[in-house]
């Protein structure tokens, strides 16, 4: 059979549509069982009927046969003779399946074996047929044809089909109609129901019978029947059509023989003009008259072969009698009408009306029971082309908007208008590809029904948001994953009714399918109230399969453990059923979802149920993106993945980005964010920067250039549940770009989601955030990093220290607790005194401690202004000179004193990857004392400690001598007591402990002698060493006198060294005399 492929395709497409709607309706019928909704039954019936008819016409015999029995059964249901319970609906559903299968490979359909199914259905028919009663045609119901005697359907299928149709035609319309025999119809009478007649406006006064030769029409004018109908409907109303040819003719093929088609046509055009309008010759146009008219003008010569009216016909009826026609094949008529209905519906309302009227005539169904949808069926390639063009338009628009001279107001207005219109076109075209998710969801009731049967469970499904629309390609890609998830829920999730009752749940399990928009994405949730996922089982399986160790599992959160089930080969099902459990499901679901740019999530509460959710982007083709630059190339990051942008300036650049383990992190509002450098990421070691901007072939943007500068940009990106920061050179802006998928040769590269052409014509890569996250090792276990950081901090005790620099090489740190404050000083204010430097701070002269003088460190190039660190707890006013303040940092308390140590350091530590010196402030302060200060200090310290130092009583009257001698003695570490005269001295010696006496004989004269007499006279201290100080002039005499008087020694009073030597000698002797140990006075 040489049917035009287009016609067959059209048929298949249509039939498929019919079939898809039938399935849902059958299930509803089943549910209603008792209360049949006649409208629903009719809908199903009509659908099957149409398919049957077309199939028969095109020679798909088996299809037609199957449809026929189904139709018969349905009619019994419609008439109430058979109740549509599960038993009955089942074979009907199977029939739908078979028909679908046949439609898929239509050309093989005649080879399909349907006898078994047909037999099943027939059984019901036969049973039902016994109770068949003559049907009263009701106005709204098409009457079922009386069942012919139960002969094997296949044998008489076609005849039955014909029979049923004819009988329907007979009975269509109003009640008071008597059946017209087949023979009458052979003669080609046209019975048009009153209803149809009533609809003919009075303006269309003439009714013609037009005979067209379709073959000739097609060959001479190229018109198809559809076009013809259309044309006719423009000028009037087609009331009926009829094709005259035998069944045998059909088999031999359409176009070869003349194909006559009679059209009953109502119009206001007069006969003479009809020729022109219809393009027919006079012979082919016959004016029809009403019966009454006919009766009036009996024997009209223009009606050559018409028959007498059957006397049975009631006169109230208006019948039209036409010329004879051969055996009508009503099926064919309907087919043409069916084709014309779908083609005409959006085009001419009158066409719709008349076609609908045709339908009504045949089926007698009122319009209310039917759905009218204004749709056009288009080839998907047309839409794809439109999409591509829309994309190109967006690109051109971008280029134009970029280059138009904004200053010119006219151009600007035009470009704005262009912008708006382009966006609207783009959005509209995008929406053409959008289909409601209900298309997938609606399959599930059936799936669940089957599973209920197979598993012996009771599960109900609830669907929300079936209207939510998705791009067609996404929808198609989702069908399998969603089916799998639903099967999973049925199979493993929901328990058997008995189990449920035992657990206190309702007997019937529930699965909720929900779809909704949120945040620019579509969310699909499949939720069941079954037994949930057992975390323990997952853990056991994970260990058994060596996916994770027990320790790792301990560290994982519940959610992470749940996600383990998405690993390939993972299934906690104990049994593998035919439906699921093979463990190839969830990982495939996850991958499919991710391939679409979405995220798959699992939630589950053991014993209560599980919830699987998918989040998907709305559209694929044109997306708003953030454009960034790295080196000379630009990259696009889908905005849906961009959470926020952060810019760090100046010091923050180096300080805020911390290191945890092996990666960089940033603390964003108390959340740790793993940082990734785009440059490092893209560095593949293969490509050099060929543009020459880096000169020496360095790998692109390793980020050094970025951080040396004054600012660093990074974007906080998210991919599903993962968040991380991506460091980039420069942010250009946002733009809507057309996504061009990756070339097959490179589509495995996980970094890229596609490419796009920028406004300047250069290609930019679109980054795949999910892929980057994966490659960079960012996982939802950001918590682990956080923990690591915290525990690392805990391990070492830290204290807060100030980091600073003095010389160019070293980094120093000083505990904050040791710092009183830091002053900024002008080096111009510094005074030099005796090799040391001083500056006045708060009125106090403060000595500057120069680190390079006290430690083995580099000298500092001192600027005009420096800092002075004033330490706490030091005995005297000093300040440590500092060049640069770096930061305040937590540093370990435990310092390293092995790697490098020096007098003046407490130790070292590695801070911010640098060896940091910790100065010992006290030691440095000490080291920077000059000698005098040191002595003073020591003396005072000694005094504070106790009298470890020898005490000498100095008896001097002369004030200048007093100071001098005292100085002498102090410098040698003696404690000095003063007495102004001999008498004082004597007194003091008695009261206090002195180790020696020094007397100024030169000044005192005779009283010095008296003193010594008295001293030597007796008493405890008579043996105390005493030294007389004599004048230079009378040295000999006085010395002699002193010694004779009892002095241990006599020295010239200004001879310091000799004097001290003598003192030491004397005291040693004394020491060794008085105590066995003898202090060392030096």
């Amino acid at each position: 059979m040489q049917f035009d492929e287009a016609i067959v395709d059209e048929f298949v497409a249509e039939a498929k549509e019919h079939m898809s709607s039938i399935e849902g309706d059958l299930l509803s019928l089943e549910k209603l069982s008792g209360d049949i909704d006649p409208a629903l039954v009719n809908k199903v019936f009509r659908a099957i009927h149409t398919v049957k008819g077309s199939a028969g016409f095109l020679g798909f015999v088996k299809l037609s046969d199957l449809a026929h029995v189904m139709e018969t059964l349905l009619s019994l249901i419609r008439s109430g003779e058979i109740r549509p319970n599960a038993e009955v609906v089942d074979p009907l559903l199977k029939g739908v399946d078979s028909i679908n299968a046949m439609l898929s490979s239509i050309n093989e359909s005649n080879k399909m074996e349907i006898a078994g199914l047909v037999g099943r259905i027939e059984k019901f028919i036969i049973r039902g047929a016994d109770a068949v009663v003559e049907e009263q045609p009701a106005p709204n119901a098409a009457v079922a044809p009386k069942a012919p005697p139960p002969t094997p359907v296949s044998a008489i299928a076609r005849d039955n089909a014909l029979e049923s149709l004819l009988s329907q035609a007979r009975q269509a319309g109003q009640a008071p109609k008597s059946p017209v025999s087949v023979s009458t119809l052979d003669d080609g009478e046209y019975q048009l129901s009153e209803m149809i007649m009533k609809d003919v406006p009075d303006s269309l006064r003439y009714i013609y019978l037009l005979r067209y030769d379709l073959t000739q029409l097609a060959s001479s004018t190229g018109k198809t029947p559809n076009t013809l109908m259309k044309e006719l409907n423009e000028a009037g109303k087609i009331l009926d059509t009829n094709i005259k040819f035998t069944v045998e003719d059909l088999r031999e093929g359409l176009p070869k023989k003349p194909l006559f088609c009679d059209v009953v046509y109502a119009t206001s055009i007069e006969m003479d003009l009809m020729k022109g309008v219809s393009g027919l010759s006079k012979d082919a146009i016959v004016e029809l008259k009403t019966v009454r008219e006919h009766e009036k003008t009996f024997g009209d010569p223009r009606d050559p072969g018409y028959e007498e009216l059957s006397p049975d016909r009631p006169e109230s009826e208006e019948l039209f009698i036409a010329q004879e026609v051969e055996q009508e094949v009503k099926q064919v008529t309907e087919n043409i009408e069916e084709i014309s209905i779908t083609d005409q519906s959006p085009e001419s309302p009158s066409g719709v009306a008349s076609s609908e009227d045709m339908e009504e005539k045949i089926f007698g169904v009122s319009k209310s029971a039917r759905e009218v949808s204004e749709t056009i069926r288009l080839n998907v390639s047309v839409i794809d082309k439109l999409m591509t063009l829309a994309g190109e338009l967006v690109l051109v628009r971008n280029q134009y908007v970029r280059s138009v001279n904004k200053a010119d107001p006219i151009l600007r207005a035009i470009s704005q208008r262009l912008d708006v219109v382009t966006t609207e076109i783009q959005e509209s075209i995008m929406s053409t590809r959008m289909q409601p998710i209900g298309n997938i969801f609606n399959k599930f009731p059936r799936v669940i029904r089957e599973m209920n049967r197979q598993l012996g469970k009771k599960i109900e499904v609830e669907i929300h948001g079936a209207d939510v629309e998705l791009d067609k390609t996404i929808l198609e890609a989702l069908a399998d994953p969603l089916t799998h998830l639903v099967r999973n829920s049925c199979d493993h999730g929901v328990e058997t009714p008995e189990e449920r009752i035992k657990k206190g749940k309702t007997e019937t399990g529930h699965i909720v399918l929900k779809a909704y928009h949120e945040g620019g994405q579509i969310n699909i949730v499949i939720k069941d109230d079954g037994r949930g996922i057992s975390l323990d089982k997952v853990r056991k399986k994970a260990i058994a399969r060596k996916v994770k160790t027990a320790q790792e599992l301990d560290q994982m959160s519940d959610k992470e453990i749940l996600h383990l089930t998405t690993q390939p080969g993972f299934s906690t099902a104990d049994k593998i059923t035919g439906l699921s459990g093979r463990g190839v499901g969830l990982d495939v679901v996850k991958t499919s979802v991710e391939e679409l740019g979405g995220v798959f999530d699992i939630e589950s509460v053991e014993g209560e149920g599980s919830s699987m959710s998918l989040r998907l982007p709305l559209t694929l083709a044109i997306i708003p993106c953030l454009i960034v630059q790295l080196d000379e190339y630009r990259y696009a990051i889908p905005q849906v993945n961009v959470e926020e942008l952060v810019c760090l300036y100046d010091e923050d650049v180096d300080t805020k980005i911390e290191i945890a383990g092996d990666r960089e992190v940033y603390r964003l509002r108390n959340n740790l964010l793993s940082m990734v450098r785009l440059g490092k990421l893209l560095d593949d070691g293969l490509r050099k920067v060929r543009s020459g901007s880096h000169g020496h072939g360095t790998t692109p943007g390793t980020g050094d250039s970025a951080s040396r500068g004054k600012s660093v940009n990074f974007g906080v990106l998210k991919a599903g549940a993962n968040r991380f920061g991506l460091i980039i050179d420069k942010i250009i802006g946002t733009e809507e770009i057309v996504v061009k998928p990756m070339h097959p040769a490179v589509k495995d590269l996980s970094f890229y989601a596609g490419a796009t052409v920028m406004g300047d014509g250069k290609v930019a890569m679109i980054l795949d955030v999910q892929g980057i996250a994966r490659k960079a090792g960012i996982s939802t276990e950001g918590k682990v990093v956080e923990q690591r950081l915290e525990s690392a901090a805990e391990e070492m005790e830290t204290h807060t220290a100030l980091l600073f620099e003095y010389g160019p090489e070293e980094q120093y740190a000083l505990a904050l607790s040791l710092i009183k404050r830091i002053e900024k000083i002008k080096m111009a204010d510094v005074e030099k005194l005796g090799g040391d430097r001083f500056i006045t701070i708060d009125g106090i002269s403060t000595q500057l401690i120069t680190l390079s003088r006290l430690l083995n460190v580099s000298t500092c190039q001192e600027g005009e202004e420096m800092f002075l660190l004033l330490p706490k707890h030091v005995g005297r006013p000093v300040g440590i000179l500092i060049d640069k303040l770096l930061d305040i940092e937590d540093v370990p308390s435990q310092l390293n004193d092995e790697s490098y140590m020096e007098d003046g350091l407490l130790g070292t530590a590695i801070i911010r990857e640098r060896l940091t010196l910790f100065p010992d402030v006290f030691r440095l302060v000490d080291k920077s004392e000059n000698k005098w200060l040191l002595e003073e200090r020591l003396r005072r310290e000694a005094m504070a400690k106790g009298s470890d130092l020898p005490r000498v009583l100095v008896v001097v009257e002369d004030p200048y001598m007093k100071i001098l001698v005292r100085r002498y003695l102090h410098s040698d570490g003696y404690e000095v007591g003063m007495a102004g005269s001999g008498e004082d001295a004597l007194k003091r010696i008695g009261e206090e402990n002195f180790d020696a006496v020094v007397c100024d004989m030169a000044g005192l004269g005779k009283s010095a002698l008296d003193f010594i007499f008295a001293l030597r006279g007796g008493g405890r201290h008579s043996g105390i060493p005493a030294v007389a100080l004599v004048s230079v002039e009378r040295m000999e005499a006085e010395k002699k006198a002193a010694l004779e008087a009892g002095y241990s020694a006599a020295e010239i009073k200004l001879e310091k060294d000799q004097f001290l030597l003598t003192m030491a000698e004397l005291l040693n002797r004394a020491m060794s005399r008085t105590s066995a140990q003898g202090d060392d006075n030096e």
Partner: protein
């Protein structure tokens, strides 16, 4: 155009005639069946694709379409050379591969040879023997053709995309 290539045009002999689009790579003369070539473009503004195999130069925009550009020098085993003003991208037809082209040093003439002039390939140059052997093993070469002044290596365009293990 190049005189030497002109000189190499050979008189039609027996056998089916095919036209070859010739070009130079690293000084040597190569060619592909002209029926595989869609166009020859001067565009050299490439966008590198990091982490792609080194035989891929990157993407280029030709009249709004993104094309993948292969580095034919790298593919054959020569070293990289920066594109200059003589470089061209030879874009192949859809049936050879989707939206892709090859970067060549210099385009040559279209020459017509007869099929039986194309001989089976054998290593011509000892120095480059290893490289040339790999051509054979990767099915890159259809044969050689002795021209008057040059040796023309006829390449199999269909094999280009397959050479780094990606599906076409």
């Amino acid at each position: 155009m190049n005189n030497d290539v002109m000189d190499n045009e050979i008189e039609a002999e027996t056998g089916r005639k095919i036209q070859l689009c010739t070009f130079r790579l690293a000084g040597r003369l190569f060619g592909v069946d002209i029926l595989t070539v869609k166009e020859i473009n001067t565009e050299t503004n490439f966008t590198e694709i990091f982490h792609a195999p080194k035989q891929i130069v990157g993407y280029v925009n030709i009249r709004g379409q993104v094309h993948l550009v292969l580095d034919l020098r790298m593919l054959l085993g020569f070293t990289w050379k920066d594109p200059d003003k003589e470089s061209r991208v030879v874009i192949f037809k859809q049936n050879i591969g989707e939206s892709f082209g090859a970067l060549v040093d210099k385009i040559g003439d279209i020459i017509e040879v007869s099929e039986d002039q194309i001989e089976a390939y054998g290593a011509q140059d000892d120095a480059q023997a290893a490289m040339e052997d790999s051509w054979k093993s990767r099915n890159l070469v259809v044969g050689v053709c002795k021209l008057e002044k040059d040796l023309l290596v006829v390449l199999n365009a269909k094999s280009f995309l397959g050479t780094f293990g990606q599906k076409q």
